[in-house]
């Protein structure tokens, strides 16, 4: 083995870069209206990143650019560069269905399919061909429900309809569904805002447990929630990313006046 090969192998063995997603100079337009103005951000692989900001600040719009959810809105146009592990997700070669399996999404309102609990979770792995046989599929469903902290509550009624579960359980079912296709990133848009405090706490605990296995980005109106679940926080205002830093720094000593005014309730 010559030195160069050894070097190359060492580099392969070296730790992956800290950032999972790199967005550079991203602009998003709805028709003529600019909704996102020149946002650049690195999303950590190992951490939970929270996007906070007032309604209409662009945080959800920006979140949706990370798995090309805005493609479904005809008037939406995205400029700039978004790299997932160095790969441009807006490149013409990118398979959007595959992308959305790699970058899963959980929405504000739990939206299980009107099918059985089992089918809700099995659907993704089946269409993506992730299971070799029936037993394999059952294993994936069980594993996903366990990781979503729902298994013990539903294992005896997997054939029941997903929509018959409580709101908090439905949301965890949706998380199980996202996990089942073995994603790399999970985007969550206000995942707990329709839930009561106990169901919210379960979702937050789940986010905490999933951290490290998946890069997680969460949009939330609830600043206490951002403070509780995230390690990095980005503050959006009027389509711009005003400040991005360690969550502890943002909430104890924000550098920007606009951030401070927002998180202390002086936003006016």
């Amino acid at each position: 083995m010559n030195d160069l090969t050894a070097l190359a192998q060492n580099e392969t063995a070296a730790a992956l870069p800290a950032q999972k997603i790199s967005a550079r100079n991203v602009n998003v337009y709805y028709g003529d209206k600019k909704a996102i103005d020149d946002v650049s951000i690195d999303v950590d692989r190992e951490n939970v990143t929270a996007f906070i900001g007032p309604s209409g600040c662009g945080k959800s719009t920006f979140l949706r650019t990370l798995n090309r959810m805005n493609d479904t809105i005809p008037s939406a146009r995205v400029e700039g560069e978004i790299l997932l592990d160095g790969e441009d997700i807006y490149s013409p070669d990118m398979d959007v269905v595959q992308l959305r399996a790699r970058v899963g999404m959980v929405f504000q309102k739990p939206n299980p399919f009107p099918k059985s609990i089992f089918e809700n979770v099995a659907y993704g792995p089946r269409i993506h061909g992730l299971a070799r046989n029936k037993a394999d599929l059952q294993r994936i469903v069980e594993e996903s429900l366990k990781r979503a902290g729902l298994w013990d509550e539903v294992k005896d009624r997997l054939a029941d309809s997903g929509t018959a579960l409580s709101g908090g359980q439905q949301q965890r079912l949706c998380i199980a569904r996202a996990i089942a296709v073995d994603p790399e990133v999970i985007l969550m848009d206000e995942p707990a805002s329709a839930l009561d405090p106990i169901a919210t706490a379960k979702i937050e605990e789940l986010i905490h447990e999933l951290r490290g296995r998946y890069a997680i980005v969460i949009v939330t109106h609830n600043m206490q929630q951002a403070a509780r679940v995230s390690q990095r926080t980005a503050f959006f205002h009027l389509g711009q990313m005003v400040e991005y830093g360690a969550t502890s720094q943002i909430f104890t000593n924000p550098r920007q006046t606009r951030t401070k005014d927002y998180i202390t309730g002086r936003y006016g």
Binding site: M223, T252, N253, T257, D261
Partner: protein, 232 residues
């Protein structure tokens, strides 16, 4: 967005204002206690000394009130950023000011013992007022810096602590010399040593207040700015 100073929830501003007013009030009482304790010491005024000891209970009561309100503010308002630092610094400053009051009380307690057995005025007492002035000025300026949220003035207070320490060292040596030369007065002068030590500690506490003012105003620790060296 308004760069506004006021919270959308006005009652929050009101509560923080009340907390700060209580600190200012107890700070004023502590300053007065040090002044009165030193006057009593110089003049041998036992009534004034007793009054200092009585008034200390007021300072203690305000400290308890500040603590109660700070905890309530943290629990009910979940303050963030500078509001959080305000609540935390109010808690810590109240505890420190209460200690300053205790040192004043301790000085007052020594007045009868220093002026016992009808002894004429102890000459060595004359060394202390200047030191007391320096210590109490630090307390005063630290509280002014608090009221104005002025980080720069807080730094100036901290920088004066070395002078107070030097003052103490010099008084210590002088008092020891005095005791050696006048063994008859040893027990009284020993009390004066404690008074000097108390004044030195009051300066340390003024420094602690200033450090908290700096933290509340900037979000940074003064010790970090000074390269990790403690100020005490």
């Amino acid at each position: 967005m308004a760069t506004g100073q006021e919270h959308t929830l006005k009652v929050f501003d009101h509560e923080i204002g009340q907390l700060r007013a209580l600190i200012a009030q107890m700070g004023g009482l502590a300053e007065q206690a040090v002044t009165d304790a030193m006057s009593a010491l110089q003049s041998g005024d036992l009534d004034l000394a007793r009054q200092v000891r009585r008034h200390d209970r007021e300072i203690d009561a305000i400290e308890a009130e500040v603590e109660r309100r700070s905890v309530e503010l943290i629990a009910l308002r979940a303050p963030m950023a500078d509001d959080l630092r305000d609540a935390i610094s109010a808690l810590k400053i109240a505890a420190v000011v209460e200690r300053i009051g205790d040192y004043a009380k301790n000085i007052a307690k020594r007045v009868p013992m220093i002026h016992a057995n009808g002894e004429d005025r102890i000459e060595a007492i004359s060394l202390l007022p200047a030191m007391a002035q320096l210590a109490n000025d630090m307390v005063h300026d630290a509280l002014d810096a608090y009221a104005a949220r002025d980080a720069d003035r807080a730094v100036l207070v901290c920088e004066r602590d070395n002078r107070l320490d030097d003052f103490y060292d010099s008084i210590f040596r002088t008092l020891v010399t005095f005791m050696v030369e006048n063994p008859r007065t040893i027990s009284q002068v020993a009390h004066l040593l404690f008074v000097a030590k108390n004044l030195e500690r009051i300066g340390d506490h003024a420094t602690n207040v200033a450090e908290m003012v700096y933290y509340a105003a900037t979000g940074r620790y003064l010790a970090d700015r000074l390269g990790g060296e403690g100020l005490n």
